[in-house]
Amino acid sequence: MLRRPHYIALGLVVLLTLVIFNLPSRTTARFKLGIGGLFLPLFGLASSSQQAALAAGDSVISRGELLREIEGLRRENQQLRIQAMQAEGASGENARLRQLLGWQRQAPWKVKSARVVLREPSNWWRTVQINLGSRDGLRVNQTVLTVEGLVGRVSSVGLTSSQVLLLGDPDCKVSAQVENATRDAGIIGASGPLDRELVEMGYLSGSANLKSGQVVRTSGNGGIYPPNITIGTVVDSHPAEYGLATVARVKPAANLNALEEVWVIFQ
């Protein structure tokens, strides 16, 4: 049986909720970032404890193993430098050809690395928080990726941290293109509530010629994501909308469940 204090408390909470729901979106975003800022001391505590654990793990690796690792990295570095030299030549050639054709020159990406500090606490969104904010020059809708492939986009920016919508979140739609003969284009959308390994690619034409293993990249349409960033590979596809369209399942190239470090593109 509800008593008078219960009714007063209920009234107060309902009123407060209605007020918060009806605040302008900009005020709500600031309010959210302000409250999220209370967790900043704990971010530092968690990351320093993680680093301490890593340092403790590193101290038990044998010298021989470290030397082998250094040798492997040195070899990989030399290979990458040769590839970079080749890519630089190709890039120069591309720029000259673009100039001859009168096309716009492609600016090289400027990227900044960021650490993932927090993950989405609820089960119905796919987001992470990174340790770059407006003081680092970050803005909404900047592309976030790893060396393996696309991760998502920045959705809100605080002073020292920002929220990133990951591939598979219902609010993270990416215009994509399959690397096949017909260059089938579609939209990468939400995944299932438990499908953390796969995302769905919809709006493909009914005659799309998709095969497992074909690479999916950003198309550059939509104005948020630059073109040719690897998204993942096609796993399977099935007809939808009575055969008028095709839906494919795509495995993201970046491991979205174990993100530690990401890169943000500053164009």
């Binding site: 219960h6 909470v13 987001t127 609010d171």
Partner: protein
């Protein structure tokens, strides 16, 4: 020391929200993150006053939403409704029984996400929803059923460690006193 008790509950809620966002061990294991706020709300509504219930619902909900992609304030009302219902019926609940605590934790941890999802759909948001949501609800409820008795144990231990124990009734009885005569 009700203010100290309320403070303990709120600090635990703050740390619980941070734990949910910072550590994904359970999520990697079963694919679902467990929410500890409903379990805390069961404890607060059974052992604390209505003010603590309101503070936990408002602050806990806002802290949770600030780290999530949820619209701000969407977690407040579900938590408060759970707290209010239990608080109103708490004279009828055997709060010291572990089984009763587990059942309440199970029900609260199932009800909170369902109400939050309903609110999200009502406010025209499109969260990830499908058959997998049933598995998520099952795991969250089971997690809540385990976490609630642990909450009671933890706060019981904290009370014993930090709060002065209540004076117990003396064994002295005036009618049993042996009067000395000369």
């Amino acid at each position: 020391m009700s203010w100290l008790h309320a403070l303990f509950v709120l600090v635990t809620a703050f740390l619980a929200v941070f734990w949910e966002a910072a550590f994904s061990g359970v999520r990697h294991l079963v694919g679902v993150q467990i929410d500890l706020l409903p379990a805390l709300m069961v404890y607060a509504s059974l052992c604390a006053g209505i003010t603590t219930v309101v503070l936990l619902a408002v602050l806990g909900g806002l802290w949770f939403d600030s780290l999530s992609a949820n619209p701000m304030g969407v977690s407040v009302l579900p938590l408060f409704v759970i707290g209010l219902v239990i608080h109103a019926k708490r004279e009828l609940i055997l709060r010291d029984q572990g089984f009763a605590q587990a059942v309440l934790g199970f029900a609260a941890s199932a009800a909170a996400p369902v109400m939050t999802l309903l609110l999200l759909f009502t406010t025209r948001h499109t969260p990830l929803f499908g058959w997998g949501t049933l598995w998520q609800l099952a795991v969250m409820s089971a997690g809540g059923a385990v976490a609630t008795p642990i909450c009671f144990e933890f706060f019981g231990w904290l009370d014993r460690a930090l709060v002065h124990p209540r004076a117990t009734q003396t064994s002295f009885r005036a009618d049993r006193e042996i009067r000395r005569g000369r």
